[in-house]
Symmetry: C2
Subunit: 119 residues, 2 copies
């Protein structure tokens, strides 16, 4: 049970679209990710997903609207809702989502990671 | 499904030790709280609790150690672990914990709120 410094953890990796697990609670995992470019359209059938923006501006396209999130802002994408994250410049995010989730959700894609690492 | 600006939400209240609910996902709630002074020793028998520091320095006393958390740092206090938060100056935190949790855990105290508000 130690404290976690998000900035220190973010210094440990440079890969984009590859969330790293930093903690867990009540069956949820807390992850950090660096995002740059366009992700794929996907949804998570059974899992809500929290995005909290640490640095940069994240655009999330939904089928019916576009949301632009800046540092200090968050959104919860409900289970089953199609979304496509876009980061025109590098974005650092904290995610909270169930341990079992796949980050590309219902889509199998070259960006899909079968197993995420703890840092 | 709208974005949430933590700073805007924090401007909506001034009470200390009274978490306000801002979102929920997968049976967990996300809350904001302003802390100032000393809280009571307590634990949550069945719930892990995440503290993420937005502003200020939060001290959490445990039975066997003391952890000091600054802005950008977080800790998960596991279920059943006694803890006592102390804020010598005002601290703003984001909490993630199960919807059913009582913030004073196993302790009934004048600080205990029976029902938390959404903001």
């Amino acid at each position: 049970m130690d404290k976690i410094n998000l900035s220190d953890k973010l210094d440990l990796f440079n890969e984009t679209w590859t969330p790293k697990i930093i903690s867990e609670l009540n069956g949820q995992q807390v992850k950090l990710a660096k995002l740059h470019g366009e992700f794929v359209w996907h949804n998570h059938a059974d899992e809500d997903e929290l995005f909290y923006i640490i640095k940069g501006t994240l655009i999330i396209e939904f089928r019916d609207k576009v949301v632009e999130l800046s540092a200090g802002e968050m959104i919860v994408v409900p289970a089953g809702v199609d979304h496509k994250p876009i980061a025109h410049q590098e974005v650092h995010v904290m995610l909270v989502e169930p341990a079992a989730i796949k980050h590309t959700g219902n889509v199998k894609h070259e960006l899909t990671k079968e197993k995420l690492d703890w840092i």
